[in-house]
Symmetry: C2
Subunit: 333 residues, 2 copies
């Protein structure tokens, strides 16, 4: 195994975020399940957008947010995801490259527009996402650069990739290449409804050894094992994954592995504004701790720190240098 050129390479649905602060009534009117990610078609996207207030736009996408967070910590990073060569797609490519992430996936030149997520942020800070996948559906195994995957210590995959038809083949191809090169593969379960759609497949990925590290929040963990018993689910996760990391919002996180089970508290915040990206940025901090060999405790703290930054403003990408933020808080950077 040669030295890794990248600390982490992430693969995900490349999605542009259209964010608006709204009230509970809007969610009720449009029959949205608060806190979830719903896949929508073009007609529903138009109907939701028509009714939405003035928005703020920025690049998003779960694994992309994570990789941008990692780059902000100072990690060496790469991203694979599909946009279209349209105005939004060009902004997307700009933003991820400007964050210091290697991004070479060819944009689609025809077919649907770059994917967008219409994100409603309610006064309690919770975000409800409505995602039109658009060009993200065009990601195929051909987009997986074997050399790039083999050159990354960790390949990080989002569960959302199970939604577009060809992306799951790209997912498995990437995992195979990574393992053949002696690298590790991480999966985030993404969303409780996503887990519900692909429960058996996700369990097979874990039990068959296609993925080594698994990130989940409480709702996703409960959905995965179809139980409301947290400790029981955690025990199963410990059996099914080499390393399992479960986030619990203000209760911090729990890390399960052969070494045992440890809990790490959340990082305190002043004001919750928008939870969009909380899990993504937690994963960024935790993975950064892992690649810096900081230990699970410090990795969990780095995750909490990055999550705390992102939930105190609108949008899922960090607004400050996470490297500096880590230094200011006496954490490895």
């Amino acid at each position: 195994m040669t030295d890794a050129k990248y600390d982490v390479l992430a693969i995900g649905n490349a999605i542009f975020d259209v964010l608006v602060q709204t009230d509970e009534g809007f969610l009720a009117k449009h029959a949205m399940a608060k806190g979830s990610m719903a896949l929508i078609d073009e007609a529903r996207a138009a109907a939701i957008y028509r009714d939405m207030g003035p928005a703020t736009e920025m690049s998003g996408g779960s694994a992309a947010n994570t990789i941008v967070g990692l780059a902000s910590f100072g990690a060496r990073t790469a991203y694979i995801g599909k946009v279209k060569d349209d105005q939004i797609g060009r902004m997307y490519a700009h933003d991820i490259r400007a964050a210091g992430v290697a991004f070479d996936t060819l944009p689609a030149t025809d077919g649907p527009a770059t994917g967008c997520s219409y994100i409603l942020v309610t006064p309690d800070g919770e975000r409800t996402m409505n995602t039109y996948l658009g060009a993200a559906q065009k990601l195929t195994p051909d987009d997986i650069d074997a050399g790039q995957i083999a050159a990354a210590r960790i390949t990080y995959l989002e569960g959302y990739l199970w939604d577009p038809k060809d992306a799951k083949d790209a997912f498995v191809k990437a995992a195979t290449i990574a393992h053949d090169a002696g690298r590790e593969v991480a999966l985030t379960l993404s969303d409780a409804f996503c887990v519900d759609r692909y429960r058996d497949e996700f369990l097979e990925l874990m039990r068959g050894g296609t993925v080594d590290l698994v990130f989940a929040n409480e709702a996703e963990l409960h959905s995965l094992y179809q139980t409301s018993d947290f400790d029981g689910a955690l025990k199963q996760l410990r059996e099914d994954a080499t390393l399992g990391i479960v986030t619990r919002s203000e209760k911090g996180c729990v890390v399960v592995s052969n070494d045992g089970v440890i809990s790490v508290p959340a990082f305190p915040i002043d004001t919750l504004i928008d939870t969009t990206g909380a899990g993504d940025l937690f994963a960024a901090g935790f993975l950064f701790g892992l690649v810096r060999k900081a230990g699970y405790e410090k990795a969990g703290r780095l995750g909490g720190l990055a999550a705390a930054e992102v939930i105190q403003h609108i949008g899922a990408r960090p607004q400050v240098s996470l490297k500096q933020l880590a230094e200011q808080n006496g954490l490895p950077a």
Copy 2:
């Protein structure tokens, strides 16, 4: 004169903002005059964007920001400005209509893309704008809806309209229609460099009675009369405009008219984040006070309140209801 359907109608360059927090070094490297608005061509736009960090996008444009602020206060509003029928132009149209502003200008179907301003925000909160006018250059007198202008108590025009070739004809046409209908016309001088480009024409608009109300900041006032003597410039403004409103950042504003000269303090803030839109939102609050016949003192306070809101976050559009903010601060709403 019939009752007005709109309190204020604004005409301006419809510009999409691409905002990034950066450092002084970036301005120096690209030879930008801090705090100004520079017009750039497509090649320079590409060069600046290529070098810029990850951005946040939202609709902007000086007069458009003002009219959105007025709508947020609860005023009845309309906007005339030119975008292209492209992805960014459609977001632009969405945002202004979603703010409650009537917006019926036909988008351009060919020619340059919707205009963009690349806005660099330095750690001191100052913004430096680089504007590619794009489709905004396509605004012509044909876009001026005579019925809409005649139905607005105040037609508000931005000095930036003097930059695109045909827009100044649209400007004069609108002012003529407004006056023929017994309405008032307001002008914002926009930018000190803009005043430097069109000083004689702006003075002629004022002295010839094409505009009645004039908004300026200190730098624009000094540029207009080519003097560093503030009191002398103010005296000249009082002669040249029916009503002159001069903003002085943290020193508040000065209002000059036949009734005399009054000063109104600024509204205190906690943290200056981004001055983008400060003058635009001041004008929104002041105009709202005017149309509510609140008197210059309260109009100035409403302007200060709206400016204070917008400079405490990234971007030039209000993030809260200005109507509620005014109520919370005991001001007319």
